[in-house]
Symmetry: C2
Subunit: 114 residues, 2 copies
Amino acid sequence: MHPTSIATADGITKVLAVIGGKWRINIIWCIGRKGSIRYNELKRQVTGISNTVLTRSLEDLASHQLIERIDYHESPPRVEYRLSVDGLSLFPLIEQLDCWGTATCAKNDANEQY
Amino acid sequence: MHPTSIATADGITKVLAVIGGKWRINIIWCIGRKGSIRYNELKRQVTGISNTVLTRSLEDLASHQLIERIDYHESPPRVEYRLSVDGLSLFPLIEQLDCWGTATCAKNDANEQY
DNA sequence: CAGTATCCGTTACGATACTG
DNA sequence: CAGTATCGTAACGGATACTG
């Protein structure tokens, strides 16, 4: 096994390593929905996230090859984030999860009306 | 809004509340694959998980209506876990995530062979 | 067998202030 | 604008021993 691979566990393990955090899925979701997005707009969309956490999450997602960071080297700085090929292939699954969550929420809310 | 609902954020938030933990997805996956499963077998399948964490996860998943706990009230105790209706509807999405993870792993491993 | 109880360590998360 | 640096906290995860 080569050094950079994560001991090739099963697919779930790989997925968890990527989207396991508290904000990761949300971030991918936001980037995917916008196509490309800048740091501060992303921060506004992902309500409640702090600078530190957002930065770390973006670094982590980039290192896992799920997003791409495009630095235009301008002043004032302009940096855009977008989904990589892998990220794009993951995105529809996240959309499905969102649908499931919404549907389940709605159903449970309805049932709780006693 | 009624007290028991989780402030109806978006679907992603609901999903994260459910599968956000380190083992949750794995547990659902194992239960779903077996149909129904007992505590100790589950513990064997989910390699590395401790009693405390497994128990907490199961309680949590049950409280989120994703799994059902069936206690046969025998001695020695026999308890089975299986997916609820909600859990069953989530299961295929987890399978897809697993596929994605496996495919992505394989692809990246191949690329890294330099 | 199916858990509890206890206690501890790590890590992720977070607020705030500051920088190129 | 797009972050870094620093410090603090809380939640999660985990090992071990014990119980009905």
